[in-house]
Symmetry: C2
Subunit: 345 residues, 2 copies
DNA sequence: GTGAAAGCGCTAACAT
DNA sequence: ATGTTAGCGCTTTCAC
């Protein structure tokens, strides 16, 4: 037999559909007795309200979108996991959207999902799509940024303290005696990347470094390799390299392995994000932990609060502390001119 | 102003809603003239049909579920990417469901999504949930298995030729002179894992190996480490190790690195799946490529075909060839008793 | 070939 | 505190 509807329940309980609806939605104004009666009928029939019918009339679907840059970057699966876990608790379904940081993909996803009744968006990719998103969504309460900070302060976000994390990491390298440190940056439009770069610059300026080595680039692991290759070919290459994220750091490590350079003895390497792979005995990559599980969980909570808030409610801003995880990849004190001789061959 | 409805279009075009509906759904029985008229009105108003209303009346939602074991295993993000890419072309939305191979999670996801109008399921996790899934879905056309083969041949699937892949891989190691080869297996209920084990057994039997080394286990990277640790502690450890998938192989590599054993000089290691990470210069892991992008794409196509097929249509079965990717991790010919001396200390 | 009308399962006024 | 009823936007008979 078909799924029972609210009408079946009403009939079974001997009440009207509105009463059943009230019970289901935990509305007040239902006598305890009646409530019990209805609940029993629901139980017996195995009734479950239809989200579709609900969505049609209420305009809400319990559908959330998670926008990510690249699910191939292990940071994002970890984020997705925590978002999904938290969302499930409220009966929300999460659709993972791989935007490849292309605005057109953001538009496609959001337009389609909006028609499906999309309730809110967790924006964790770094494309230049902020205005587009806000326009499509028409209501800033429906979005929360994470991983990256939005340009407009009237939008909610939960991010790591990227700058402070980068400062701490840079100081860690400086403490080992490194003075010539290369920074493999992300694209200039990625605010989280820029904040990390800022932190690096600040820490380098503190010790009076005239011109820190900076390689502009994208977020792919290849960029890391290219930057390092270029540095090694130039006079006086860096004794340490910081990558703007762990994926790029992996690319750096790979390039160095290809060139038979030892980490950290010949050159130190550090990343940012704190992905699980960085802890692997094969990498032992020093990194800055973003506590991605916290990021995801809090993003969902913010969104939930906002979706229940009245229009025009104040945005919520959270900045989470990061944690430096020093590992073997930066464990050797710098040896002056160690690299210059090695690179020659 | 609000989104235009089908009524607005009908009014603008001077026809009835049913005519508009027919045009939108590409139904016959509409005069070319009328069709053009309606299409112009749609264009002008920017009308897009509401998937929700559609779902309510038709019972179809263009929602697909992808069941995976663990999104932390890089094989699955790659699969998700290809599934998503193919599904998008037909306007399907994919919900990624992380089941952790727990039946209760499968049930939760499917029950909830069914209420949301779920159209079909791509089952790529390996839990013992086959019957549950088929019962919940009530129609075998709505599911396609991938990555693993279902017990019932009346259900569609697209899988790799796991057995042949394992045979080829084992022979590759045998050709290097290895005779004592350890196989880190997956859980016994995982059919894809069992097929790979079968292939290994078969190839070992071919050369008359009395009792191949086999470690039963789960799918976590830890299992790989534990198995190897145990083997190394025993008399006459293996000279080569095959892991049932790349994630476990990574765990094996990590354990060996911890113990200062060189791969492949001291011990050879191979995986299965062909994840991108395996190609990294840091691992250079020999593996068997499953062509995960093909797997995902074909799964979606099968599902699409089935959803359009009449009830009771014959299931579709596809078995894709695998490809051996020999890399450095198995590149050294075996040195007799090499390991026995090393392990002592 | 086209239109009118009855729902799909539910929520939310508005009555009582 | 509970019931009645009008939709939400669309598909789908069934007439014409």
């Amino acid at each position: 037999m078909r799924q029972p509807t609210i009408i079946d329940v009403a009939r079974a309980a001997g009440v009207s559909v509105s009463t059943v609806s009230r019970v289901v939605r935990d509305h007040a104004d239902v006598r305890a007795e009646t409530r019990t009666l209805v609940q029993e009928a629901i139980e017996e029939l195995g009734y479950r309200p239809s989200p579709i019918a609900r969505a049609l009339v209420s305009g809400q679907s319990r559908l959330l979108a998670l926008l990510v840059s690249d699910i191939g970057n292990p940071f994002y699966p970890q984020l997705a996991k925590s978002v999904e876990h938290e969302a499930k608790r409220d009966g929300y379904t999460v659709v993972l959207c791989n935007t490849a940081d292309r605005t057109v993909e953001t538009r496609r996803y959001i337009e389609r999902l909006l028609r499906q009744g999309l309730d809110g968006v967790i924006h964790a990719s770094v494309a230049r799509d902020e205005n587009l998103l806000l326009t499509l969504l028409a209501d800033p309460r429906r979005v929360v940024f994470t991983n990256r900070r939005p340009a407009s302060e009237s939008v909610s976000y939960v991010v790591s303290d990227n700058r402070a994390g980068a400062v701490e990491l840079t100081r860690h390298l400086l403490a080992q005696g490194h003075r010539r440190i290369g920074f493999v940056a992300g694209p200039g439009y990625a605010r989280n990347a820029v904040e990390r770069l800022d932190g690096f610059r600040y820490a380098m300026a503190e010790i009076g470094s005239a011109e820190p080595l900076i390689a502009e680039g994208g977020f792919s692991a290849q960029h890391g390799g290219q930057a390092v290759t270029a540095w090694l070919a130039a006079p006086s290459p860096p004794t340490a390299v910081i990558a703007v994220n762990d994926s790029i750091a992996l690319g750096v490590l790979e390039t160095l392995a290809d060139r038979r350079l030892r980490v950290p003895e010949d050159i130190a390497v550090a990343g940012f994000d704190g992905v699980q792979l960085a802890a692997s005995p094969l990498l032992q990559l020093t990194t800055v932990d973003q506590h991605v599980d916290q990021l995801g969980r809090r993003a969902v909570r913010i969104l939930r609060r906002q979706l229940a808030a009245p229009p025009g409610a104040a945005p919520i801003h959270e900045v989470l502390p990061t944690q430096l995880l020093p590992r073997r990849s930066t464990a050797a004190p710098v040896r002056p001119d160690s690299l210059a001789s090695l690179v020659k061959d």
